[in-house]
Each structure stands twice: as C-alpha cells, then as structure tokens.
Amino acid sequence: MKKKQKNSIFKNDLLALEKICWEIRQDIIEMLLEAGSGHCAGPLGAVEIYVALYFSGILKYDPKRPFWPERDRVVISNGHCAPLIYAILARAGFFKKDELKTLRKLGSRLQGHPHRLSLPGIETSSGPVGEGLSQAVGMAIGLKMNNMKNQVYCLMGDGEQDCGNTWEAVMLASKYQLDNLTAILDRNSIQIDGFTEKVMPLEPLKEKYEAFNWKVLEVDGHNLEEIIKALYKARSLFVKPVLIICHTIPGKGVDFMEWDFKWHGRIPSSKEAEEALRQLRSLKGKIELE
C-alpha cells in the first residue's frame, strides 16, 4: 500500500472527522445542560479546531502515557472552552466518556476551568485569559534548550488579545524565534460584553502579528481541510512562530446561538437544549447521507 502523503487528507478521513465534530457538539450541549452553568458559544464554535488538532494525526500524544516526554504540548489559554476540551480528551481516550456528566460538580476531575493536577491530558491550569501564551513560550524555550523537537500549541481566544500579557508573550516568542510554537486563535468575534470590534477593536489582527515578526495563516475555522493544512504548514515553517487565525462562528451548529454574544457565558434551558440537539443531530444525519 502506498504510504499516505503527510499533507493529503482523503475525503473519507474528512467525513469521519466531520462526524466527530457533530458528536462533540452534542456532548457539549448535554454536558452543559447537566452542569447547569458554563460557556456555550465558544466551545461550539471551536470544535473543528480541536478535532483537527487532536484527530488528524498531527498532534503527538498518548492517552495511556499523559506525561510521555515526546508528546507535543497543548496549552489552552482560554479555559472557558472546558466542555469542548473535556469532550475531546474523553474521545481521545484520556478518560471514559461517562465522566463528562460530572462537569463542574463537587469532587469532579472536570473543573469549571481546566486544572492540570486534576485531569490527565491538561498541561496547564487555565481560566484567567491572557496567560497561556506566556506559558507556551516558556515551554517552547525550555524544549529548545533541551534540544527536543516537540511542538507547542497554544489555543487562544480573540477576547484575550485585549490583554497586555498576550502581547508581552508575542514579543518574546519572536525575540527567541520560536519556530516550535504554533498559536491557534479562535476568531469568533465575541466576548462577554459584546462583539470584539465594539468592546475593543482588534483589527487589523493579522497585520499586528506580522508586525511583531510572526508568520500568520488565516483559515475558515469550520473547514477541517483548511485547518489541518495550516497545522502542517505551521509545523514545517522555520525561524518564526506561527499564528493560525481560525475564523469561526460562535455557537456554530445551533441556529439560535450562532453569532449571538449572549451565548458566550450562558447555557441553554432544557427546551433550548432539546432544540439544539435536534439541529445538531439532523446536521449529522446530512453528513451520513453523503
């Protein structure tokens, strides 16, 4: 059998990944309904990003050995994506899917925001945004000092581009030419107080990063093929750290949640959840028909 080209993503693989995306979305709605609080829009919108990272074969990890030294490091800077992260880690085999329903409950390993010491697969405790990139930069510098080839991925939201801390880290990453660092930005254009461009205009974001000596790739954050290609490209680029801006729709997959910033920190009622799950299931059905 001919060996697969690194960059070639077959249609069947993509269909399988898309199917995972819609299942993860259902997990998120079910988890939030059970938890009674949490964030909705961000996790739904970033599903393709996480699925592309964890299930396309690019990320080196081993759920049976969460501290395997050769693993790539994933720093989740926007910890409020917790339901999505947990659904992904369960699917990846770090723990059983049953545990997802314990989210945010007393005694659960699935803390409201991810905690490194409570759950395997979580590299850093996060929640307060704007700090993840600093930690990722520290990891990337340390791994280079150790002559290790692991890649460091930092998943960020766009709201945390308001934080001075983020830009301190952006500068240090280019100072040290951290080509082992890939930052992935979920550009969903919402934050708690409203649309990012109203709360604190970020544009031109691409040009800002380029001015700070980063290489920037822009993709449709719901197009798995585009995201996966960008991830491979980022890994093969040298001298500069890479930012992948993924343009996403907050609340993606549920029509009454899409583009509505009210869903940033809100969860659906049981009736709304039922409708959300109905929409997600039918979309999934559409994919299976193809």
Binding site: S125, L133, S134, V137, G138, I141, G142, L172
Partner: protein
C-alpha cells in the same frame, strides 16, 4: 548577648562588613547555576541592579531577558518549570509580585509549577527612588498564596544561602531582598533553613541577666537595628530576646511558641505594612495557640517617600532608637 551557638559574626558591633542582600543573592544564584544545570534565570530589565548579571555572563544560554514585562516573566517561568527547568525570576518587589500577582497565583501556585521568585528593592531602604519603588506590601501578597514559601534573609550571606536552599525546596519560594548595604551579621557557619528562624540575641543568664519578658521578632534589613537596640538596652539592664524571623512561611512555629511561653509580650518589626505582614503572620499563629500581648512596628497604612535609608528609618520610626523606645513603652504596660 549574641547567641553563642550559631556562629554569628563576632565583629557585628565593631567593624562589620557592609554588603547588600541583592549581592548575596547574585553570588548564590551563580553557585546554584554551577551546581545544577537545570537552573535558568529570567529578568525584566533590572539584571545588573539585582545582581543577576553574574549568572547571565556565566550562563548566557540559560538566561532569559523578557524586557519590562513582569506578567510574561512569571508565565514564561511556569512554562519552563513544566519542561523540567528550575526557573529563578527576579525583579523589583513592587513589580514582581506586585504587578503580576494573578499570574503568580494561577500559573505558578495553582498550577504547582516550582518557580523561585526574587523581589528586590523591598522596603523603605530603596531610599531616594521614593514611594513608587518601595515595596511595602509584598509579604502580604505572597504569604496568602498556597504552594508558596516566603523567606526574608537578614544579610548577604543569608541571601546566598536562601537561593541555594530554595533550589532544593519542594514548593515555590518567594525571597525578599534589599538594595541597600547592611552589616553582615552571620557567618558561613550560621545555620539557615527554610522553615527555621534563629534566636540572634538573648539574655546571658550566666552573667545574671534576667529576661525582661519581651521577645522581638524582626526580619530583613531591620534585624541589625533590632540587635543594636537590644545591645544598648542591655546596657540599661533591659534584657530582650531578638529572633531573626527569616522564615515567614512556613513559620517556625515551635520556636515562636517556645519564646511566647517565656514572654509577657511580643514585638514584631518589619519594613512592610503592619497589615498583612510578618507581624500579622505571628499574630495569627499566637492568637490561636498562645494569646498574649503583641505590638507591631512597621508602616501604618501609609506610603514612603524619597530620602536616604537611614533618614527614612528614623522618620518612619523603625531605627534602633524607635525600637528602644517601643520596648520601654511595652515594659511599662506589662509591669
């Protein structure tokens, strides 16, 4: 008398060598780097000022200059710790742990990544730079954080020992150091441990000196002032005990309890806000385990100002004269 059991510098009162705790820290960090190749150092644009240039010049590949970016400073250190490094981060205490407290809380303490935080230019003795640069709140900021120890060396030798001990300590450590030169009180042989404090001065019972019932807990730059005060008081037949309370967290509870039981009153002295500082830590512990009269010397809900260190200690009533006066006031109250 000076505690004869811990090899203090016999020339303290005659001809002491003057050296700052920042100098001691810089020398200790260099040694730490030589002993352990995992030690890395990070600084935020005050490298020579806090004596980290000794390490930088010897191990340039293990030194990271982050620029004036203290939030990033500690986040990057947390990341380095997670890949097996032992990061030592230094800045002025006003900025670290001042400006970056939440990053320390989340990425180092909650995350349990071991990092050694060094806050220099703490206290009034920064002098002419003025109130904006005189950290008077850093003990309070650090001692409330889980998984973080708080250490204040009293001289340059203790600062050197503190950084070396911190490298091998199981949790993150905050070390508070000063800019200004001060007498070297200890010797290489004086014991120094995180979690242990030492009696530096006590009544000489063999000479018939009877304890007046006041134990002084003091830390950092002011330990020497307390020793001067104790010596001069002894000439007036007032015999106090002076403890160098270098370990703020964990407290040396056994030592504190022992001396509290022998005392009628405690006096705490620090170059820090009275609220939340070293004295508060002692008071919290004793209120629970052995309540007795406690008096505090420190900054009273106020900021400092420009001036020479000596002038400031006098104005803010933290020099030996103020300490003597306070001891006499307490004596009146307890007798």
């Amino acid at each position: 008398m000076l505690n004869p059991e811990i090899n203090l510098n016999p020339e303290i009162f005659s001809n002491p060598l003057l050296k700052s705790t920042r100098d001691g820290f810089g020398e200790g960090l260099l040694i730490a780097g030589e002993i352990n190749k995992d030690v890395v150092a990070l600084c935020a644009d005050v490298t020579e000022s806090i004596r980290m240039h000794l390490f930088r010049d010897r191990f340039p590949e293990r030194f990271i200059e982050v620029g004036i970016a203290e939030q990033n400073l500690v986040g990057v250190a947390s990341g380095l710790a997670s890949v097996g490094k032992i990061p030592v981060v230094g800045s002025y205490a006003v900025f670290s742990p001042g400006r970056n407290w939440e990053q320390i809380r989340t990425t180092i303490c909650y995350n349990q990544q071991k990092v050694i935080l060094v806050g220099s230019h703490a206290g009034l003795n920064v002098g002419p730079d003025g109130a904006s640069h005189q950290a008077l709140e850093d003990i309070a900021l650090t001692r409330v954080l889980p998984n973080l120890s708080v250490i204040i060396p009293s001289d340059s030798l203790e600062a050197k020992k503190a950084i070396l001990k911190a490298i091998g300590y199981p949790t993150s450590v905050y070390i508070r150091i000063s800019r200004e030169n001060s007498p070297v009180i200890t010797t290489e042989e004086t014991p120094f441990e995180i979690g242990k404090s030492q009696v530096f001065w006590l009544p000489d019972e063999e000479k018939g000196e009877e304890f007046s019932g006041i134990t002084i807990f003091v830390c950092g730059f002011l330990v020497y002032q307390a020793l001067l005060a104790a010596k001069e008081l002894s000439e007036e037949n007032i015999f106090v005990t002076v403890i160098n309370n270098s370990s703020i967290k964990p407290l040396d509870e056994e030592l504190i309890l022992n001396w509290a039981k022998r005392s009628k009153a405690i006096l705490t002295i620090e170059e820090h806000q009275v609220k939340g500082g070293m004295g508060s830590a002692i008071s919290e512990f004793l209120s629970e385990h052995y309540p007795l009269l406690i008096k505090f010397m420190g900054i009273r809900d106020n900021f400092g100002e420009s001036g020479q260190a000596e002038e400031l200690l006098k104005k803010y009533q933290l020099d030996k004269e103020a300490i003597k006066l306070k001891v006499k006031e307490i004596l009146k109250e307890i007798n």
